[in-house]
C-alpha cells in the first residue's frame, strides 16, 4: 500500500471527464460514446437518517447528457469544465457524492446495455448490464411549466416509480436507470418518496459523452509535482454488486462506521490524504474513492 499526501488543488486535475486538455495517459483512459444533443440537470434528493438516527435529506445535482440512443447520468460537478470548479464547493460535492452513493451510468453503451461505475470504498467497480425495458403505465395529461408534462407509473427492480415526462422533449432518456417513456423524464419519485429526481434546468449543448475505461489518479511524482496514474475498475455483475452492497453499505453499522468492511489494503492500493493549502489534512481518499468518517443510512434505488 502506498501512503501519500496530495494538495487539494492537485485533486482538481483528476476530477472532470469533460476537461478540455488531458495528458496522453488520461486521454487513453477515455472513450467518446458520442455527442450530446442537450443536457438536463436534476435535483436528486434522498430522505434518510444520519448515524445518530436523525432524519436528514441529502441533495445533489445530477447532469444527464442526452445523445442519440445513449445518455450519461453523472454528478453535475463532474460534468462541469475544470475551470468552473469552485475549490471549496468541490470538496462538498465529493463528500456529498460519497454520502449519497452516486453512480455514473452510461446508458446505451455498449449497444443495448448500460455501463455503471460505482464506488464502494476502497474500490471502484464497473458493471455492464442489460438496458431492460420498464413497463410504464401512462396516466392522464398534466400541464406544467411550459412543457406538456404527463404522468406515468412503472415497476423497476422492486420499486414503483411515479414519474412526469415531457413529450415536447422527444427522448426516452431519464435520470439514473429510468428510461423508456415517449419524452424526457422530468420528475421521478419512488413509492415512499425516499428518492426524488427533479428536473431543474436544460441546456442546449453539444459536448462529448465520455466513458472512462480506467479511472485516473493524481499522485506525487519523484521529480516533483504530480503525475497521473490509471487504475482498472473491478468488474462485477449486477448480482455481485447487489450482494456487495448488502454486505457493505447496506449493513446496519455502515452509517456509524463506514470503514467496518474495509479489506486489508494491498501494495498497489493508494491511500491518499488530501491537504488544504496550509497542509492541514482535509480528507482521506483511497484509490480515488472518498472515505467517510460517518455516513448516512444507505437507501437502495433497486431492490432486485
Amino acid at each position: 500500500m502506498k501512503k501519500i499526501s496530495l494538495l487539494f488543488a492537485a485533486l482538481l486535475m483528476t476530477f472532470s471527464a469533460n476537461a478540455q486538455t488531458y495528458s496522453e495517459d488520461f486521454e487513453m483512459a477515455l472513450d467518446t460514446v458520442g455527442m450530446s444533443k442537450f443536457t438536463a440537470v436534476y435535483d436528486y434528493t434522498i430522505r434518510t437518517t444520519d448515524h445518530t438516527g436523525k432524519a436528514v435529506t441529502d441533495t445533489i445535482l445530477l447532469a444527464l447528457q442526452v445523445g442519440e440512443g445513449y445518455w450519461k447520468c453523472t454528478p453535475y460537478m463532474r460534468f462541469l469544465p475544470v475551470k468552473d470548479h469552485n475549490k471549496e464547493h468541490l470538496w462538498d460535492v465529493l463528500h456529498q457524492e460519497a454520502l449519497m452513493h452516486i453512480e455514473t451510468i452510461v446508458s446505451g453503451y455498449p449497444e443495448g446495455k448500460r455501463t455503471i461505475h460505482e464506488a464502494i470504498a476502497p474500490y471502484c467497480y464497473e458493471t455492464v448490464e442489460d438496458k431492460e425495458a420498464i413497463e410504464w403505465t401512462l396516466n392522464e395529461a398534466d400541464i406544467d411549466s411550459g412543457y406538456d408534462y404527463r404522468r406515468a407509473t412503472g415497476e423497476f427492480r422492486g420499486k414503483t416509480w411515479n414519474v412526469l415526462y415531457a413529450e415536447n422533449i422527444p427522448t426516452t432518456a431519464g435520470p439514473w436507470k429510468l428510461h423508456g417513456l415517449p419524452g424526457l423524464i422530468t420528475h421521478a419519485a419512488d413509492n415512499d418518496s425516499t428518492h426524488i429526481f427533479k428536473f431543474v434546468a436544460l441546456y442546449n449543448d453539444s459536448l462529448p459523452i465520455i466513458h472512462e475505461k480506467y479511472y485516473v489518479l493524481s499522485v506525487p511524482s519523484s521529480g516533483g509535482g504530480n503525475r497521473l496514474v490509471t487504475k482498472q475498475f473491478q468488474k462485477r455483475t449486477h448480482e455481485q454488486m447487489m450482494d456487495l452492497r448488502k454486505k457493505t453499505i447496506g449493513s446496519k453499522v455502515y452509517a456509524s462506521n463506514p470503514k467496518f468492511s474495509f479489506p486489508e489494503l494491498g501494495p498497489n492500493d493508494l491511500d491518499c490524504t488530501i491537504l488544504n493549502d496550509d497542509c492541514t489534512p482535509r480528507a482521506n481518499v483511497i484509490n480515488g474513492v472518498t472515505v467517510l468518517d460517518k455516513a448516512h443510512t444507505y437507501q437502495p434505488l433497486e431492490l432486485e
Binding site: 445518530t52 438516527g53 435529506t57 443495448g112 412543457y147 427522448t171 488544504n276
Partner: protein, 859 residues
Amino acid sequence: MKKISLLIIALLMALSASAQVKVTGRVINLKNIPVADVIIKCVSEGKTLAFTSTNAQGQYTLELREMPNRAVELQFSHISYEKENVKLTLTEKTTEQDMVLTDKQVTLKEVKVQAQPIIFQGDTLSYNLASFLGKGDVTLEDGLKRLPGIDVTDNGTIKYLGKAISHFYIEGMDMLGGRYNLATQNIPAEYATQVDVMKHHKHRKIDADEESDDVALNVKLSNKAKFKPFGQPAAGIGLREDDPLYALGLTGMMFTDNFQLLGSAKGSNHGNFGSYDIIDHFGNNDISTLATDKLGKWNSARPPLGEYLYQTNAYASLNGIEKMDSDRQVRMNADYAYEDYNSSSSTNTLYFADGQNISINEENRPHTRLHRPMIEARYENNGNDRYFMDRVNMKAQFEENECPVIATDVNNQNRKATQLAISNYLASTVRMGENKLSFNSNIEFVRAPKVCLNMNSISQTGQSTTITTDHSTSFTIRLGSKWRISLPVNLTAYYNMIETSLHAPDDAILGQRLDGWVVTPWASPSTDWRSPSGKIYMSIGANLQWRNMMYRSRFDDKKTTMSELFAEPRLSFRYTFSGTSEMSFHSAIYNSVGDILDLLTTPVQTNYRTTSMASGVIGKNQVWASSLSYTYQIPFSYFTLTADAGWTQGKRNVLSSQYVDEESTSTASIFRDSHTKNANANLSISKNLLTLSTKLQFTASGSWGSSESMSQGKVVTTYGNSYSFKGQATVTPLPWMEIGANGQYSRNYTWWTGNHRTTDGENASLSLSVFPIDKIEIKGSYDFVRSQITDNQYKNFSLLSASVQYKASRAVWKLSLNNLLNTRHYRYTTFNATDRYTMDCHLIGRTIMLTCKLNLVKK
C-alpha cells in the same frame, strides 16, 4: 377441477394473443443511416394506445393489445429530426411501416425550474427564498417574514420558533454581530437566494461536539450581489402637521468569498429611518453604569399602537470582515448615531395606598438627545482544534433629557449624563486529544463622570466607576464517546464606586460615596451524557460561588462585608423523538446578590416627587426556575408547532416598600423576606400553504403569578392570572391581491386582600394589498383596538394608513399616507400590583411621505 382451470387459462391466453396487433418497421435518415432512440407513438383520438422506440439499427416493434376499430396515427419523434406522422388503418395482425426522417435544428427552450422551497439537512433548514417572496417584498426583512417558523419583531429581531437567533451570517461570515438590521433592511430581497436556519448551532468549530440550543441564520446571495459593489441610495420628502419632512440615506455593500464590506449613513426627521438599522439585537449598544441606573432618564408612556415619538435621527456605520483563511477572520465595526426624540402623555395614577386610593394626574413632555459613538475590532481564529478570539470595544453615550411635568404646578426637570465604556474580551480554547482547555478573560472599564438632574430647585448629581475583570478556564474530559465531565473555573472581580449628592434649598446636602470590591471565585462542575442513538441528552451540574464583598462608605467610614458560598444546581434533559420533534426540560436554582446600590441609604431624588432609599442590607434573591418545551415541525408541509410551560419561584431577603401621599412618593427596601411565584404556558402554531401563498400563525399563552410588596407600611400579597390568544394570517386569494389579518384577545384577573380587578382588551388589524400590475402595490391597513380603561369604561381606537409602491427594475418608489383618520390620542391602562396607571398618549397626526430607494449595481 384443476384441469378445467388450466384449460380456461390457456384459452384466455390464446384469445389474448390473437387480439394483439403488431406494427414493425425501420427508421432511417436522408443519408440512409438507421436512427436510434426514435419515439414511435400510436395515437387514436388524442389517446396514446402504445409507444416504443427504435434500437441502434433503427428497428422498432409496436404492440397494441387489441385491433383498433378506426384509423390510428403513428407519430415518429426524435430530438434531432422533424416530427413525422403517418395515418394507418390496421387490419392485419402485423403491419410494417418504415420511416425516413429529415434533420432539424435542436431548438429546445432552455429552462430553469425553481429549486425546492425547503431542503432539510440534519439540523439545517434551507429555504429557497424566491419560493416564498410576495410581489410587494423589497428588503430581505420582507422576505424573512414570509418563511415558515420565522418571525421578525417590530424592531427587527429575527426569531425561529420563538427563539431569537444567536448569529446572523452572510455567506457564512458574521460581519454585523447583533446589528443585522443593516443587512435585512438594505439587501434587496431578490439578491438573497437561500436562507439557512441552523438549529443547535455552534459558532465555534471546536464546540462541534457540545450541546447548544442556539439558532443561527445564514443568508446566501445570488451572483448579482457578489464580487461587485452595489449600493442603495434612498431619499424622501413629506409633510407632517404642516412641518416638512425629509429622509436621506446611502448604503454601499460588497460581498466576495473572503471579504465583506457594508457602509451606511441615513438621516431623517421622521420615524425610525435613521435609527432602525443600527439596533443591536445582542444588547451591545447599551452602556449600563451605576449612576445612570440609579438616576435614569425620564420617558413618556409608550402606546402599544400608533406613532407617538417625534424623532430626528441619523447614523453612519462602517463594517468590514476579512477571511484570511478557512479559520481566521478580522472584523471591524464603527458607528456613530444621533437621536433626538420627544413625546407627550398624560397619566392618571391611582395608588391603592392601603385603601386610600390616592389619585395623581400628571402631564409629561420628555425630550431626549443622544450621541452614541462606537468602535470595535475583533480577531478570531476558529479552528477545529483551537479557538482564539480577541475583541476590543470602545463606546460612549452622551445624553440630554428634559421632562417638564404639569401636575398641580408646572415642574421643570432636566438631566445630563455621560457614559463611557472600554472593554477587551479574550477567549481561547485548545483541544488536547479528547479533552479541551479554555481560558477566557474580560476586562471592562465603565464610567459615568457626571449625571446631573435638576428638578425645580432641587439638584441631584451622581458619578460612578466600575472595573470588571472576569477570567475563566475550563477543562473537559471525555469518558468514552458518550460521557463527558466539564470543570470550568472562574474568577470574577469588580471594583465599584458611586457617589451621589442631593442639594435641596434650605436643606443640608445629602450625599454618600461608596466604593469597594466584589471578588467571586466559582467552579461549575458538570457532566453530560448522550445516548448511543443521540436521541437522549442529559446534563447535571452545579455552580459553586464564593462571593466576597468589601464595601466602604467614605463619608461615615462604615464598612460592609459579606463572604458567603452559594450553590446553584441545574439539570437539563432533551429527548429527540425524530428529526421533526423534540422535547426538552431544564431546571435550575439561581442566586443573585445585590450590589453597591443596596447600601445607598442616603435619599436619592429621581424625579420631582420621588425619592428612594436603600435598606443598607445586601439583597439576596434565590429563584428556582423550571421549563418544559416541545417543538414539532414538518418542514415539507411547512408546519411548525411549539409548546412550552415554565414554573418560577423566588425568595428575596428584602421587601419593596412604597409610601405615597398627595405630594410625594418614597420607595425603599425593607429587611424582610418576600416571595414570588409564576407559572406560564405558551403554544404557537405556524403553517404555510405555498399553493395559496398563505402563512397562518396562532399563539396562545396563559400565566399565573403571585408577589409580595409593602404599601403604606402594610404587606400586600397580589395574585394574578392572564391569558391571551393571537391569530395572524397573510393570504393571497388572487394573484393580484394579498390580505393580512390579525386579531388578539387578552384577559387579566388580579386580586389581593378584599379586592379584585378584571380587565380585557381586544385588537384587530386588517391590511389589503392590491397589485393592479406586478410592479405596483396599493396597500391599505386598518387597526382597531377596544381596551378597558376602568371597571365600566371602554375605549375604541382606530388607525388607518395607506401606501402605494412602484417597483421598477432599479428603483422602488413609495408614497406613504399615515394616520389618515388623524387620530391624536391613544388611551390605555396598565397595572403594577395594586396600582393602576391610565395613560393618554399624544399621537403624531396625518403624515404624507414619498420615498425612493435605488439599486445601484456595477455591471
